[in-house]
Each structure stands twice: as C-alpha cells, then as structure tokens.
C-alpha cells in the first residue's frame, strides 16, 4: 500500500494541541520527522503529552482537546485536509497503532482469526482467499502459529505476550507506512518484552516502516530507537541520535531523567527529580523546567528557550547548554553508605507451600530476612512472588510450612495473629491508587493505624499524623486531602507513612514503584534507602525489575514458577549468576549502558 516516495514518512511541524474552548495548550511547538525504516523514541513521563502527540499522527485527538496549529503530514499528505472517510482509510492502512494494553484493545467476543480478517477487509476489497494467506503471513511474522486452532481462539485464551503479538500482527497486516506504538511492552515480562521489541524492530527494518515509539522507559528506547525525542510538559526539550541522547545529554531534564533510571549494568544510586511537572494551564513562565532545574538563571524565567543546534541533528531547548554539559552528573546521597545487615533473623520462611484453590503456587520456599537487611524477591508475573509476600503478611491463608517472626511461629491468617505480629509486619501495596480508601482523608487513614496499634489519644493524634507524614517528606497539609487529590508518588508516600506509623520490624514492599514514573520511582527508592538508615528497617522488596534491585537490595531471591531458583547476594547474582533462569532474565533486561557499550552485559 505504501506509495514509493522520497522524503520522510512523517513530518510534523509546529504542532499545537489545545484544550477545547481555551488557549491552554496540551502540547505545542512539536517538530518530528521520521524517515522510512526509522524508529523514533518519544520519551516522557506521565502528563508530558507524549501519547497526545502519538495519537495525533492517527488524526485523533482525545475529547477535550483540538489541534489548534501546525501541520501533520503522513507520506506527504496533510492530515487536516482529509475528510473523515479518508482518515478512517488512513488509520489501520497507512498509519497503524499498537496499543498499550492488548487485553482491552482486542475484542474479547471475537476469535483471533475473525479480528485479523476484519482489519484486512476494512482496507482492501479483495477476496477471502488472499486474506487467508495474508493472515497466515502476518501471524508468522510475529512468530505465532497460524493454524486453524490458533485462529479459532479467543483473546482470553492467549497469554499477554501472545495478545500483544496479535495486536502487532494486526498493526502490520496492511503493510502500513507509519506505525505508532504506545508503550506496547508496559505490563509484559522482560522475556516477553525482549521478544516483542525484537519483532517490532525486525518488521520496521524489513518493511521500511517509520515508527514512533511512545514510552516512559528509557532502557527500551536505548534498545530500539534510532533517534530519541524527550518531552517535558508538552514540549520536546531535546532530540537527537540515540547515542548522543544517552551519552551526551545536553538538557538538564534529560540528564536528571537518566540519573533516575536504575540500570542492571552499573551499580549506582538512582536520583529522583525534586518537584513535579506542571499541568497544562499551570505551567510557569519561561522554561517549564526551571523550577526543578539546577542550572536555572534569570533568563530561564523569561521566555521558553528556542531550539538550538548542539551537534549534528542534536537539538536542545535550553539557554545554558554549555554550563549543563560541563557540569558533573548529579549524585544522590541515597545508598552511598549502606549499613551492614545485622545477623539476627527478623523473618524466616521455612518449607512454605501455598495453594490457590487446588492449584499449587509455591513450592518449598526458604528465605531469611535479617535485621537491617533488604531482601529482594525477583520474578516475572506468575512466579509466586506476590503470593509469598501475602503469605508472610497473612493476607493469603492457604499455605503450609513455617514462617517465624523473631522467635514466634506465625499462624496462617492475619486475623489469627497477635496484634504485635500484625504490627511488626507491614505491607505496602503495588498500586497506591487502590490501597488507600478514597473516601477517607489521608489524616484519617493514618490516625486509624495509630489508634489501632497504640490506642486512641485523640488529642495528640493530629501531631502524630504530622510526624508520620514528615517522615516521608510530606507536609501536614496533606492530612486534609483525599487520595484523589494527590499524585501517584505522593500516594505511595502516604502508603509508606501508614505502614511506618505502626513502627514495624519488617516492611513488605510489593512492586511499590511499578505504577510510578521513573523520576518518582527514584524518589521513592531514595526515600526507602533513607528510612532504612534512619530507622533500621528490614525490607522484603518484591519486584519484577532486576535493575531496581541493584540500587536497593542486599540479598536477592530469584523466583520462577513458584520456586526460588537462585538465592544470593546482589553482587553474586549480577556477576556470577548460577541458575539458567537468572542468566536469561539478565540477558533480556534492557540496559542503557550495555546497549551503548559502556559496560558489558553481566555474564
């Protein structure tokens, strides 16, 4: 379908999308060119407008917004001049889209085959015979079986990775010229992610497809993209070739962002970015980043910096590029001086087997957590790491074996345990959007925790709540707010403050940063590191992110299919992994430093 043409497949100039009925822009001054066969990584944190830009290439603007300036050309054709019918033909034909969550993008009531046929029928009037072959070809391209039994399946009968590859097959089915990927590997395991990225890359190269890869994950961009554009608060602040962006970033935001990303190849601390990005309508005058920038001068408060050429094809929007480039990379206090883990055991798990109904999920688990130690449980989804954490905290009751807290053996269910046992083990949930009662103020939530474990002295409750909030770097004002009035990072701080209010011996952190942006993740990790130093906390840290462990954990237990396949110190796991599975995980975890040849891949 692609017409032979010269010049870029995608040309966006001065794109501006504003809130309907106002002059407030969501994104502005967006300039993007993508050549055939090229992958452009569009990186930004939540609220930066990256998805808005991605959707604009499909001629789509979310409700509440409208294109109020600039030009988008796809294959030389200007989108604004197309009628609705032409736009429909364009979508899925010339420009196609790989969604973030294939689980919701595929129709659960239709068989896979039917859905693939549909997308072909929508764009080519030709016969069913040809379509059958195209469907088979499309599935083979993404390394899925193309036999009848597979085509007859429903989306729920496929794994997340298979669903995503079906979505990719659908996106590539009509041989598009441009493809927009909206974080297609978020929510996939590293092994699956590696395969999906490989597929996307190969298809783009072999069919000369121009791809816009929208993501918050810098490591993925380092693996996949040819060029990178970094977005902040609705503007592209830096763009250039991949190597330049990662090795010689020139914008202060890019530099801070890179320092917030944990990397499996380098044992270094992560550093969060203080403050947070401003929303449309609340952005400061001048450079939007200046309130959070170390290099801000008076001129930064005047007007937004113009684009300046920093090197070949490397564009930056900052007044003080020279000063930024000369400055050393920011360092965090974080983990620099880690306390040595104690020798007395806080928690010991012995021979634990767990079931969900009739299905066994954990097999003979043995883990110890010592005083002041951070033990990481790593594994992909379905490995049983969360089940183990829930057994420890008594939320999952169906287990056998022994879990000891200090000297006492714990009953299975939280309700059967003593108040002390419940106080000593505190659980922080993955999703701070779900773990706080939306109908209670932050103050009420924390006050209840205090009342539960230390009795209700109503008079000084406010004072004690303020202390708990101060510990996680929130002000006492937060106590009056409801959870929906806080950002994700603030909510997770509240959840941690609630757990710490009980003065626990062991903090169980279940993927506490996976719902957060990298800069926020880094800030939470910094916070946990600081709290460990100050309070002498023992941590059971559950994560799927190997890179994260390196910055926080002392000991690591790698889990696969309900078993601990490897157990050792962080150093040992990263430098000399013994289990095949660990090696596979390490190899599949994207790493900025490995890709750019700064470090060799572990093992």
């Amino acid at each position: 379908m692609t017409a032979v043409q010269t010049g870029p497949s995608v040309e966006v100039s001065d794109l501006r999308i504003a809130l309907t009925g106002t002059d407030v822009d969501i994104v502005d001054e967006i300039v993007i060119d993508i050549q055939p066969g090229e992958v452009l990584g569009l990186v930004g944190e939540s609220g930066s407008g990256k998805t808005t830009v991605g959707m604009a290439l499909l001629g789509h603007v979310r409700r509440g917004g409208r294109v109020s300036g600039g030009v988008i050309r796809i294959g030389g054709r200007e989108l604004a001049s197309l009628r609705e019918a032409d736009l429909r033909r364009l979508r899925g034909g010339t420009v196609s889209y790989i969604p973030q969550d294939p689980g919701t993008a595929l129709n659960p009531a239709l068989r896979i085959g039917r859905q693939l046929f549909e997308i072909l029928e929508a764009h080519a009037g030709s016969s069913g015979q040809e379509h059958g072959e195209r469907v088979r070809e499309a599935l083979e391209e993404v390394a899925l079986p193309s036999d009848e039994t597979f085509l007859d399946r429903y989306p729920h009968q496929l794994s997340g990775g298979q669903q995503q590859r079906v979505a990719i097959a659908m996106a590539f089915a009509n041989r598009p010229a441009v493809i927009v990927c909206d974080e297609p590997t978020t929510g996939l395991d590293v092994t699956t992610q590696a395969r999906v990225l490989e597929t996307v890359r190969e298809l783009c190269r072999s069919h000369r497809v121009a791809a816009l890869y929208v993501t918050h994950d810098l490591a993925v961009v380092a693996e996949l993209a040819d060029r990178v554009a970094v977005m902040y608060a609705g503007r592209i602040v830096e763009s250039g070739p991949r190597e330049k962006i990662f090795t010689a970033p020139a914008h202060p935001y890019t530099r801070r962002l890179l320092r917030a990303v944990p990397d499996i190849a380098g044992k270094r601390t992560v550093v969060g970015i203080p403050g947070h990005a401003a929303l449309p309508g609340r952005r400061p005058p001048g450079c939007f980043f200046h309130p959070r920038c170390d290099f801000a001068r008076d001129d930064c408060r005047g007007a937004f910096p113009p684009v300046s050429e920093h090197g070949p094809a490397h564009e930056v929007r900052c007044y003080h590029v020279d000063a930024v480039v000369r400055a050393p990379t920011p360092e965090g206090a974080g983990q620099a001086s880690r306390r040595a883990a104690g020798t007395d055991t806080v928690l010991s798990v012995r021979g634990v087997n767990a079931h969900y109904g009739a299905r066994p999920t954990l097999f003979d688990i043995e883990v110890d957590v010592h005083h002041d130690e951070c033990v990481a449980l790593v594994g992909e989804s379905g490995s049983g790491k969360t089940t183990l954490a829930r057994c420890v905290s008594g939320l999952h009751k169906d287990w056998t074996g022994e879990i000891r807290l200090g000297d006492a053996s714990l009953p299975t269910a939280a309700r059967a345990r003593s108040t002390e046992a419940r106080r000593d083990i505190q659980y922080v949930f993955q999703n701070p959007y779900a773990s706080l009662n939306p109908r209670r103020t932050i103050g009420q939530t924390i006050a209840r925790q205090l009342e539960l474990f230390f009795g209700g002295e109503r008079r000084d409750a406010g004072q004690r709540v303020a202390e708990c909030l101060e510990r996680v770097a929130l002000s006492a004002d937060a106590a009056n707010r409801f959870p929906d009035q806080l950002s994700g990072g603030e909510r997770q701080r509240v959840a941690i403050a609630r757990a710490l209010a009980a003065e626990p011996k062991l903090l169980v952190c279940d993927e506490v940063t996976s719902a957060l942006d990298v800069s926020v993740q880094a800030a939470i990790i910094e916070l946990l590191g600081r709290l460990r130093q100050e309070m002498g906390l023992s941590l059971l840290f559950i994560t799927h992110d190997l890179a994260l462990i390196r910055t926080i954990a002392d000991t690591v237990a790698v889990m696969n299919e309900g078993r601990i396949v490897e157990h050792g110190s962080v150093e040992q796991i990263f430098t000399a992994p013994s289990a095949e599975y660990t090696r596979k995980l390490l190899a599949n975890t994207p790493s900025i430093e490995v890709v750019l040849g700064h470090a060799t891949a572990p093992s």
Partner: protein, 308 residues
C-alpha cells in the same frame, strides 16, 4: 480537566511542602458534609428540596391550620367551591381542603419508617454477603430470592389481610420487601470494592470485620446507596398510598391521602379536587425525593465538583 491530561492530577502539593511544618495536622472528620454542601449547589437538589419541603410542611403543619375538623360536615356532598370550603365538599359533605391538610402525615411517616427499615436491613445483608464471599453469601442471597419471587404489594396485602390493618405491620412488610432489593444492589456495588487493596490493608492490620464492612466498604458505595434510598422512598410512598387506597391502612373516617382517592374516585367528574389534591401531593413528593437523591448522588461521585 482530568480527561485531557495523561494521568494523575497533581495539585502541586509537593511545591507547597516547603516551609515550616504547621503545629499539627487537622483531621477532617466528616467528608459527608462536603458532599452534602456540594449537592446543595446543584439546581436539581434545590428544586427537589423545595418540593419536598412544601409537601412535608403541608403534612406536618396542615392539621394546625386546617379551617375545619376532617370529620366535620360543611356542605352538600360533592358541592363545589364555596366561602366555607375553598375546594368544595367531598362525597360525604366534608371539607376537601381540611381533609387534605390532615391526611398527609400518616403516608409520610409510614413511608419514611418503611424505607429506613428496608434500607438498613438491605445494606447490612448486601454488604455482609459481598464481604463474606462464602456460604453465608449464598444463604443470604438465596433467601432474598424467595422474597423477590413475590410482587411487593402481594406480600404486604397477604400480611395485612391475615393480621389486620395495623400500621406497624405495613411498615414492617414494606420494609422487609424492600430489603432484598436494596441488598442485591448493594452487594453488586460492594463486590468490586471488597477486592480492592485498601480492604486487604485493613485485614492485614487486623481491623474487625464489622469495621471493615461499615467503615471501609460502606463509604465507597454511598452513591448507589443514596440512589437506592431515593428509589425506595418513592416506592414506599406509592405502596403505602396504594395500601390505604385499598382500605388496609387507616380506617374511615380518618383523613388520609390514599383513602381520600378511594372515597372520592366515583365522583371525580363532579368533584375532581378531592382526588386531584392527594394525587398531586403524592406525585410531587416522589419527584422531589428523586431530585434530591440525584443531586446528592452526583455530588458524591464528584460529577459537578469542577463547577464550584
């Protein structure tokens, strides 16, 4: 605005965090007041409240300002408006206006009592069923199904015809037949809530079951609860009026809106007011309660929060 922005709404809290800490955090204890205050800003709530207030005022203060006794004969049966009786006389020659002013209080308190009983019992059954997730859930919900199998009015009539037209029996039966309907809705709403992490967090720290159900889950199902409350109130008014229309409520010669409609329905063409006044009152009362409920429900889920 949330719709147009990628994810979390940031209110710039962290920016406000610098500077000295205030003495102590203020613990706001009643988020409810805020919801009601927001509801009062909506036109629909105000109109609904005005209507309800007028009808309730008529029912409560009517007997005090009525020109005649409800049983006093003031004119020729079914006669029209006169200086003694502004809405004329009813089928027995009593003052329509006075009987109307006297006849509302019973309908009103019977409906309120029956609704309160039904909603309280229904909420308890629904939330306990949703939270238990075991045999108790099945027992409670199958028990509900038995009651749901009969039309409400049939069960109420069955009881009053067997035990006699007693007011407490009407309240009890209307309430009991409301309960499974409320329970079903509340269980449905709570099923999603009991799976959320904050409920698990409460379990992990050992909150009592009752406190989890009524302290953690209940505040998150207030929206369907308020809608149910309004709906059940509406049905209660209709049911109670219907029962007295059928003669199982207050007995003649007491004045009562439902009874008035029955007594005067044959002469509607010559004396429409004796039927129209109670019908208008009952109708407006249901519309009013619905508008108030709707306003509160909207405020509770924050639909109109941005406008204020």
């Amino acid at each position: 605005m949330t719709e147009t922005v990628d994810t979390a709404v940031d209110l710039g809290l962290e920016g406000a965090l610098e500077g000295p800490l205030p003495e102590a955090a203020v613990l706001q204890r009643r988020p409810w007041l805020g919801i009601l205050r927001n509801a009062l800003r909506l036109t629909r709530t105000r109109i609904g409240l005005a209507i309800v207030a007028v009808i309730v005022a008529i029912a409560v203060f009517g007997p005090l300002v009525a020109p005649h006794s409800p049983t006093e004969f003031v004119g020729i049966p079914n006669s029209g408006s006169s200086s003694k009786a502004i809405f004329g006389a009813d089928a027995l020659g009593r003052d329509v206006w006075s009987r109307f002013l006297h006849g509302g209080l019973t309908v009103l308190w019977l409906s309120v009592a029956a609704t309160a009983l039904g909603v309280v019992v229904g909420v308890c059954i629904g939330l306990v069923a949703a939270y238990s997730r075991n045999w108790l859930d099945d027992v409670l919900m199958r028990g509900n199904d038995v009651i749901l199998a009969f039309p409400q009015i049939v069960l109420v009539l069955l009881a009053v015809s067997a035990l006699g037209p007693k007011l407490w029996l009407i309240v009890l039966m209307v309430g009991i037949t409301h309960a499974p309907r409320v329970a079903r809705v509340m269980r449905g709403a709570a099923q999603e809530v009991v799976e959320r992490d904050f409920v698990k967090a409460a379990e992990a720290v050992g909150e009592k079951r009752g406190r989890i159900v009524f302290g953690e889950v209940l505040p998150n199902v207030t929206t369907p609860l308020l809608v149910e409350l309004g709906l059940r109130m509406t049905y209660s008014i209709g049911l109670v009026a219907a029962i007295s229309f059928l003669g199982f409520g207050l007995q003649p010669p007491t004045a009562d809106w439902g009874l008035m409609i029955n007594e005067n329905r044959l002469s509607i063409t010559v004396q429409p007011w004796a039927v129209l006044l109670p019908i208008l009152a009952i109708g407006l009362l249901t519309v009013g309660t619905n508008l108030v409920t709707d306003g509160i429900a909207r405020a509770a889920i924050g639909i109109d929060r941005g406008k204020s």
